[in-house]
Structures are given as C-alpha cells and as structure tokens.
Subunit: 234 residues, 2 copies
DNA sequence: TGGGATTTGTTCGTATGTATT
DNA sequence: GAATACATACGAACAAATCCC
C-alpha cells in the first residue's frame, strides 16, 4: 500500500511533539509562553488529544510546565535550577568522555571534526552557532551507545537552551569552538582524565560566562540597595 | 471547598500513573507483560484516555515500552542496557555524595540512620529489603535539592528494579546494608573523595553480584553448544 | 461578587490497524 | 489467505474548572 512512514499510528502525536519541541528550542515560543491545546491543534491540523499527548511528553522532558486545570506553558527554570542542571550535565558528560577516550573510530573522529569546522564557519550566526554547539554534545553522547546516558544528555542539552535563553548574556559565544577542539584532541589521544577535566571546565565556563545575572536582570531591590548605601540610607 | 487533593484535574491520570508504577515496581506486573488500555481502565475505574496518558508518562520514564499500533508492555531492558544504566547511575550518584559530603544536617543524618536501621531489620523480607535499599538512594538524592539530579536518580533507581527482576540472582542481597552505613559515615566525616569511591564500588558490586547472567538464563544455544562440543559436533 | 467566555478534563464512538484461526 | 476478533488511534462532544470583565 506504500504507506508513508509517520502518517499513521502514534507517529502523528510524535510529529506534534517534535514540532513543539523545535519551536521551543528555536525560541519561537519563549519560556513562560502559554500553550493552549486548542490553538496548537488548530495550527497543526490535529485534535486536542494529540496535542495533549505531546504536552505530557514535553513536560516529562522538562521543557513544558503542566499545571492541573491551568494548562501548559513553556518551562521557565529558575536561575538556581539552571546552575543545578549544569552540574548534572557535567556529571553525565564526564562519563561520556571517559567512555569515549581512546575509543573513537576514524569515522567518528571525522564526524566530530567536520562538526567543529561547521561550528567555526557559523560563528557569526548566533542562533545557528548555539544549535551546533549543543549538537556537538549530543553527538558525543550518541557515540557512547549508552541509551540512558544518551537520553539524559539530550534532555539536559535541550533544557540548557531554555536556561541560556533566559539568563544567558546576549552575545556570549556559549561554547567556545576551541574548547570543543581541545576536547576532541584529548579523546583521540586517549587521555580520559584530561578529557574529563576539560569537559568539567568547559561546562563550568558556560555557567560563569553566561549564567551570571546580567545587569538588567538584577531585581529592583538589589539596584536600589546600591543607591541606598550611596545615600547613607537603609 | 475542602477539595481532596488528587481527586480531580490531571490528578486522576497521575493516580493511574502511580498505581501502574507501583504494580510494576512490586513486580505484580513483570517485565514484558502486556498492558491493554481497556482492562487496566476497567480495573482502575477510569477510561482508556487516562490510562493512555499514564502509559505515555511511564514510557518516557523507561518503565514501559510503547510501540505504535501495538500497545504497551512493561519494559524489558536487555542485559547490556542494564549494565549501561548502572554506569549512568554511578555517574549521577557520585555527584549526589560529592554534593552532600560534610553538608548533612543533624536531621538528615538522623533520617538516614533510621533508614539504615530499618533496612537492617527487614533483611529477611526480600521484597521489602529491595524496596528499602532503593529508597536509601533516592533519599540521598532528595537531599541535594537538585531537581534534575533527583528526577534522574529516581528514574534510574526505579528502572534498576526491573533490571534486577530480570537478571538479578534470586537471593543476592542487592544492597549490602553495611555499605550504606560506610557511605553515611564518610558523608558525615565530609570525605567527598571516599564517599565517591564507595558509591562507585557499591553500585559496581550490585552489577557484579547480581547482574552476571545466571546459569538458567543462558539461552538454549549456549547450553547446547557445550554439549555439542563434548560430542564433537558443530 | 457574579456570570459568561474560554480552556481544560474526560468519556466514548468510530475508524484503523494487528493478531489469530 | 481471508474472515473474525480484538486492541489501538483519533476525534467530537460533554462536563467541570478557571479566567476575565
């Protein structure tokens, strides 16, 4: 019957899931945005049932907040959740590089090198470069063949986009391309310890480079307290 | 209005989710078992819709396999997935103990001590002791206040039950109580390095103690090949 | 505070797909 | 290999909760 793959069965709901996920990661839907079942279904040409299923999935992945009787919104992690998330990411990604050190096949090395070149080429395009930087990490995870590890790294990388969208400095290049190259070099050389430390440092840099509260994110109290002190008040 | 929490809204589906999860973890539903929406809904007094929602959640958590047009079954991880899962667990739980070392409050120490005593008291009851052993790990994770870390550890501990149900030796005490005590001691002493190594070793022990294929789990081919060799065949 | 509009929660019917004889 | 039985996929409609004026 030459049935097109993905045009039937639970595949439709997964299509909705992918569409929403993409929209969120592209920041077409920004953190906090309402996600009404009706309008989404209308826009995507499916009924609310499928939208609900996708929203449940996304909420399990931490990209969407689901509150009973209140509906869904794009997740809006706090700054502290953000920091904690990067700690968790680091723990998992250390395992990734320790697993991979000295075990990369020529094919894999080629893939990673090409990716880094692509990152370098896209340095100017902010959105693209953010996406590619994330993909480097998921690419590495993929190569471990460890299903749960892959799944969690994917999830955390995706959520990292949300965090950076909320708290990242506008023009911080969030993953320095050179750091990816060093990481790859140490993996090829089979230096697990070094790779592990580089990964830790790499993710740490992201948090300190990008995650410190921006000037304009300070709340009114912090801002005023400075003036208060200057005036000998409070 | 004195509305009972959990008797309305999305709570109903979460109740189904919890019921199924519990049944799976208690091995009332063993790995591979079919999970027909109809019969489950009938048994639990809800419609298929809510069952579906719960099944989607469970599949995201890795406790249930969901195949399009084929329905749901209790997940049946392979032995290799099992080993990989414990590697991932170790990476995360190292972060847990590193975070906690030297930072436990008296309250938390009391809670953990009491838990270990309970484990010791329940040593004879196989099912209970397995449950308590898992809870020790989730209890530790909880104390980190790191949401993503907590979530993943919970998930992996739950899935570990499936693995042990499938591949665990019948009477291996899966978590030696003494190891939990040592772990706690090192946490109180603030020895992060030691705690990390103990945790690694502890989870490693589980895999080697329990996860090596049992004699009667060898498949028919392996068994026969031995006989074939003995008879000069094949 | 109230009441109508909107959105979510849930059920159930029908179509479609899978397994079995 | 077709017919039958059964389970899943999806959507429309109704009920309940929330929001907004």
């Amino acid at each position: 019957m030459a049935k097109t793959v993905g045009d039937s069965g639970r595949g439709r709901s997964q299509a909705v899931h992918r569409a929403l996920k993409r929209a969120i990661l592209d920041q077409a839907l920004s953190p906090g945005a309402k996600l009404p079942e009706d309008s989404i279904g209308e826009r995507l040409g499916v009924s609310r049932t499928l939208v609900r299923e996708a929203l449940v999935r996304l909420s399990e992945e931490g990209l969407v907040d689901l509150r009973p009787n209140k509906g869904a919104t794009v997740a809006r992690p706090t700054l502290e959740e953000g920091r904690n998330l990067f700690l968790t990411r680091a723990a998992l990604e250390r395992l990734v590089v320790e697993t991979l050190a000295g075990k990369l096949t020529p094919d894999q090395i080629e893939t990673l090198s090409a990716h880094i070149q692509a990152e370098d080429a896209a340095k100017k395009e902010h959105a693209t470069s953010i996406r590619l930087a994330g993909e480097f990490h998921t690419l590495l995870a993929q190569m471990t063949n460890n299903a749960s590890l892959i799944r969690y790294v994917n999830e955390l990388v995706a959520r990292s986009s949300l965090i950076l969208a909320l708290y990242g400095r506008p023009h911080s290049s969030d993953c320095a391309v050179s750091e990816h190259q060093e990481l790859l070099d140490s993996l090829i050389a089979g230096k697990a310890e070094v790779a592990s430390k580089l990964m830790t440092h790499h993710l740490d840099s992201i948090t300190t480079r990008a995650l410190l509260p921006r000037e304009d994110d300070r709340n009114i109290k912090d801002v005023l307290s400075a003036y208060a002190a200057a005036e000998g008040l409070a």
